[in-house]
Symmetry: C2
Subunit: 445 residues, 2 copies
């Protein structure tokens, strides 16, 4: 059952009407997005506090191109009288800006989207899920997890789902639409540490389909085990050690190499990857493929934010930088081919061993399970991050570690990538496996 009765076709009609009104008001070109989404989340804390939150919205985004000038506008008042005023004022505002010859809609030759592909990102049974089921999932997971041990101090289980509809029209010949659903469940626990403090950890799953939200008790067991492993955290001596980064933590380090790939960083000469296309940046173990067509992927899409058709392509291949992330606007400013401005699903060439197997090879090192704080300089490549993890000696976990930093440079650490795990993270569009780096500089805080 829907909260508003605007169908996909109504939204396409509305977007076409906005294009017509924008042109009548004096725009040369118009891009319109009409978006509807609804999300529901349920939280259970410590058997004592429950929350159900629901959020539902419709909104319209409008980009105006007039006399080589450009502005963008968003409203959630979709009443046609209000919209007509909104559109004419938006076009009038555009006149106050200076000309920017690089602002335009994409060349329509980039609009040939692969309509033959079914992305599998919508659960047609979304409306069959009841709030009774939503509540029961979070309640049962909280109860099962809390019952695991009297060492648990706090436990928070949550369920969420969402459904979104998107329509996009560019006035020079693009029309696209997409519907997607998402379901996620997670649990966090904290445990008593007699040394002081209260270490905590979590586990999480997500899917495009409700049927995949199953076997949830293991989430509680994993969250509890991870929290218990943090009891007695301490520093080790500063020095150069091996580092295995658990898949869930790796996003922090990946952000350091993703931002410098973008058109805006390159244009502002703020990228350590400038003029490095085709060069070897990382060890041969690093292959990153952007795959927009992945079935049920969390960022699967046939067209990008500009309306340009997406393509499967390598960003890094055996360590060699193969592609930047260039949207339409920066392609014109940089005089480069557009490649889409952001990634879809980020996938990796996998290795054959699990992190547990890789740990057995470590003479002395740290298995990093979380990064906390820190930063990475996109121009110089220098980075420093706080870490939490487990100290490993002669292939065995010795004790948990915190209050340490790693530091180094992007151009060096990725060359020290010695092995890639066989465990891609399943619950994010960044499907990174665990990774083993040699010779990383650790220091106590």
């Amino acid at each position: 059952m829907e909260f508003t009765d605007m169908s996909k076709y109504d939204k396409i009609e509305l977007a076409r009407w906005v294009v017509k009104k924008g042109k009548q008001a004096g725009a040369d070109d118009i891009s319109v997005d009409v978006i509807k989404d609804r999300s529901i989340s349920v939280d259970f804390r410590d058997g004592k506090m429950e929350e159900l939150k629901e959020s539902s919205q419709n909104y319209l985004s409008l980009s105006v191109y007039a006399d080589h000038r450009y502005t963008s506008h968003t409203t959630c008042d979709l009443n046609k009288d209000s919209l007509e005023k909104f559109i004419s004022e938006a076009v009038a505002m555009t006149g106050y800006l200076n000309e920017d010859p690089y602002r335009s809609l994409p060349d329509p030759k980039y609009y040939k989207i692969r309509n033959d592909i079914d992305l599998g990102i919508h659960d047609d049974h979304y409306y069959d899920v009841t709030s009774e089921q939503r509540v029961k999932i979070a309640r049962d997971l909280e109860a099962a997890t809390s019952a695991l041990s009297d060492k648990i101090v706090t436990c928070n289980a949550s369920y969420s789902d969402s459904r979104a509809e998107f329509v996009k029209i560019n006035s020079n010949g693009f029309e696209g639409e997409r519907q997607s659903t998402y379901f996620g469940v997670g649990v966090e626990t904290t445990v008593k540490d007699v040394h002081g403090g209260r270490p905590g950890d979590y586990d999480y799953i997500g899917s495009r389909f409700f049927k995949d939200i199953s076997s949830l008790e293991r989430l509680g067991r994993t969250a509890f085990k991870r929290a218990m492993q943090k009891i007695g955290q301490k520093k080790i001596e500063s020095g150069v050690y091996d580092m295995i980064v658990e898949n869930r933590a790796l996003t922090t380090m990946l952000a350091g190499i993703r931002y410098p790939l973008t058109g805006s960083y390159l244009y502002r000469k703020n990228s350590c990857f400038e003029n490095k296309l085709g060069e070897k940046i990382a060890s041969g173990k690093l292959t990153i493929i952007d795959d927009p067509y992945l079935k049920a992927g969390f960022s699967s899409q046939l067209y990008d934010n500009d309306g340009m058709a997406t393509k499967k392509r390598a960003l890094f291949e055996k360590g060699v930088l193969k592609s930047y992330l260039i949207d339409w606007y920066y392609s014109r400013k940089l005089n480069m081919e557009p490649t889409t401005g952001s990634e879809s699903n980020i996938t990796f060439a996998l290795g054959s061993r699990s992190p547990e197997e890789m740990i057995r090879d470590v003479k002395q090192g740290i298995f990093v399970t979380q990064f906390v704080g820190g930063n990475s300089n996109s121009l110089t490549g220098d980075f420093s991050y706080g870490i939490v993890g487990l100290y490993v000696k002669d292939g065995e976990i010795v004790h948990p570690v915190n209050e340490m930093n790693i530091s180094g440079n992007i151009m060096e650490i990725w060359k020290n990538l010695a092995e890639v795990g066989n465990d891609p993270y399943q619950y994010s569009s960044i499907m990174r496996p665990s990774m083993y780096f040699k010779d990383v500089h650790f220091s106590g805080i």
Copy 2:
């Protein structure tokens, strides 16, 4: 001129109608917020790229209390047919939750708001500001700043303003409404550093009134001076030094002592301030007053998120912890008096000297201008933050510093607060002056 024609009175009528419909659908009590806001921002980059973005929204938030159960819901579809369905489904969902005897609307005795006070948070000339003026402010500031020096590599000037209207009704006898405006201008520059990298910094002003957005050239000069001061950043030897924290940077450290004051942290036994009301936590120099009635303050308000009347009160007085931040729900769970769940304007007892004057007393120390990353444990009080600043020796600035951390414990560092500056930060609701701390542990990363 308004984008939608719903007046303050229409919103109050709508909220009353929602209360009536919610009760008809079976709710015992209803809380409704109707919010309308509009914001416009203009960005100029390097004389080459301009952006004007506008966003306009109306939305309604609904809290349902039924049979000691509670849920919350948000929608931006304010059509009455859609709303009627939304409300009845919201009330039905509430039935699936367990009872929570602590969920209720506040006792109406807390609703006596000070309607005699004019907060001065709305600029009645908001609609006289034209987009031509908005664009000119950002364009002129970018041009004036870029012209300051050929050492400037990038320059980004931005202007933004917003106007919001709020109506809140609780079905047991509260009705409140408020309108506010906001105007802000900032500029960021980066400069070339021959040692590598490209240090950058910013300056910013904001006000409730458009007339205060003046004398903007000084923003560019300050941003440029601050960026130039970062050229040649390096570490110093790890050790215990004096630290003066510049007012703009201090929010990071203040967050460490604000979260543990809240009801949710206390209830979850995750607060280093549990059972410490009336105890001396900090040096006698620390007095923090929460002032909801500050004329033109950025968080001035007559009632809080629950609808309870705000009060001016001390959080810390001469180092002694005077008040927690307890909203209605946690007041019932913790069996304490409610004090409002979040602060309004945070003001400080000031000292008599500027940071420049305090620096002259420093034998050896660091003037911290930014914190980068790090974290603070709300239960143990342990913290660690990355810092950027200036090394000071015998009262003189020697060279810029980066890649260092400070670490310590909340219960110790605030006792080492030796002096408070005379320079409250004017452009935030957290009006913190610069502060001088003795004996802080610094370490290189």
